[in-house]
C-alpha cells in the first residue's frame, strides 16, 4: 500500500498528518493527567493530615496482588508496543494477535482488581460513611479507603475503555486495515493504553507500598 494513499486532503503530507494526530492525542492525555491530578492532590492533602491512618491502610491492602496487577499491565503495554511495530511492518496477523493479548491483560487486571474489591466489601473497608472495618479505627481511615476506591475506580474505568479500544483495533487489524502507510490509529490507541499503565505506576506505590 502506498503511504500517500491515507493522507487526508487538508494535510500537506503523511508526516504532517501523523504529527497532528500525535499532538492532538497528547493534548487529550494531558487533560487525563489533570483529571487524576485532582485525586493525587487530595491524596497528598489527606496523607499529610492523617499520616498514621494512610500508613495502616496501605499496609492492609494486598501489595503482592497489586504487584501481579502491575506486571499484568506492563505486559499489556509491551504487547501494544509490539502491535504498533507489526502494524508498521504490515503484519496483519501478528498485529491482531498482539492487540488481543493486550486486551486480555486488561481483562485480567480488571478480574484481579475485582477480587480485591470483593475482599474489601466483605470486611467493610468501604468509602465514606459505609466504612465499618474494625481493625483500622484510626482517625482518617475511611478517607484512605475513600481515596483508594476513587483512584482505583477511576483508573479501572479507564482500563475498561482501553480494553474496548484495543478490542476494536484487534477487530480492524483482523480485517487487514493497518499497514506500513496506515498505522496511526494503532499508535493513538496504544498511547491511551500506555497512559493507563503510566497512572497505575504511580497508584501502585502510593496506595499499596508506602
Amino acid at each position: 500500500m502506498q503511504p500517500e494513499g491515507h493522507v487526508q486532503e487538508h494535510f500537506a503530507n503523511i508526516d504532517v498528518q501523523r504529527q497532528a494526530a500525535r499532538l492532538g492525542m497528547w493534548a487529550f492525555l494531558g487533560t487525563e493527567i489533570l483529571l487524576f491530578a485532582g485525586l493525587f492532590a487530595a491524596y497528598a492533602e489527606y496523607r499529610a493530615l492523617f499520616h498514621e491512618a494512610f500508613v495502616l491502610g496501605a499496609r492492609h491492602l494486598d501489595a503482592r496482588l497489586a504487584t501481579v496487577e502491575t506486571a499484568v499491565l506492563i505486559t499489556g503495554s509491551f504487547a501494544v508496543v509490539m502491535a504498533h511495530h507489526y502494524a508498521k511492518t504490515s503484519k496483519a496477523g501478528m498485529t491482531c494477535l498482539s492487540l488481543v493479548v493486550a486486551a486480555a491483560t486488561g481483562l485480567a487486571f480488571l478480574m484481579l482488581h475485582g477480587i480485591e474489591y470483593w475482599h474489601h466489601f466483605e470486611e467493610g473497608a468501604l468509602p465514606g460513611k459505609y466504612y465499618s472495618f474494625p481493625e483500622i479505627q484510626t482517625a482518617g481511615a475511611s478517607m484512605f479507603f475513600t481515596l483508594y476506591f476513587l483512584m482505583t475506580g477511576l483508573h479501572s474505568l479507564h482500563v475498561m475503555a482501553g480494553v474496548g479500544v484495543l478490542a476494536w483495533l484487534a477487530w480492524r487489524a483482523s480485517m487487514g486495515a493497518f499497514s506500513h502507510g496506515n498505522y496511526n490509529v494503532v499508535e493513538m490507541g496504544g498511547l491511551y493504553w500506555h497512559l493507563v499503565d503510566l497512572i497505575w505506576i504511580f497508584l501502585f506505590p502510593l496506595l499499596y507500598l508506602v
Binding site: A71, A139, D197, L198
Partner: protein
C-alpha cells in the same frame, strides 16, 4: 521498516530494545515491592517514588516514543506534569502551614476510642469530617 522520510522520525523503537525495557520495568516492579517489605521510614516513600518516576520515564520515553518524537508532543506532557506538581505542592504547603488546631487529627478535645467497637459506626470524627 525505517521511514524514508528521515526528517520526521528520529529513529525507531526496535522490538529488541522494547523487550529489554519490558524486562527492566518488571525488574523495577519487583524491586519496589521488595523494598516496601522493609521498614525504611521516610526513605520508603522516597525509594517508592524514585522507582515509580524511573518506570514512568521508561514508559513515556520509549513505549510512548517521546525519545523519538521531539517538540510539541513533549511540551504537552511537560505542561500537564508541571500543573500536577503545582497543584499538589500548594495543597500540601497549605495543609502543612495551617494553625495546628485546624488540623482534624490534632484536635486536643478528641479522645481515642476506649476499646474495639465491633461494627459500630466509622471512626471518631472530632471536627465533623469523615
Amino acid at each position: 521498516m525505517a521511514d524514508s522520510t528521515a526528517h520526521a522520525d528520529h529513529g525507531e523503537l526496535s522490538p529488541a530494545r522494547s523487550a529489554l525495557i519490558y524486562v527492566g520495568l518488571l525488574a523495577l516492579t519487583v524491586a519496589t515491592y521488595l523494598f516496601s517489605r522493609h521498614n525504611l521510614g521516610t526513605w520508603s516513600v522516597v525509594i517508592a517514588l524514585v522507582i515509580a518516576i524511573a518506570k514512568a520515564s521508561l514508559v513515556a520515553l520509549f513505549f510512548m516514543q517521546l525519545w523519538y518524537h521531539r517538540g510539541s508532543v513533549r511540551l504537552a506532557l511537560a505542561t500537564a506534569v508541571l500543573w500536577l506538581f503545582l497543584l499538589t505542592f500548594f495543597v500540601v504547603a497549605d495543609v502543612k502551614s495551617r494553625y495546628p488546631l485546624t488540623n482534624p487529627n490534632t484536635n486536643p478535645l478528641w479522645e481515642p476510642p476506649a476499646a474495639a467497637q465491633g461494627h459500630s459506626p466509622p471512626q471518631p470524627s472530632p471536627s465533623g469530617r469523615p
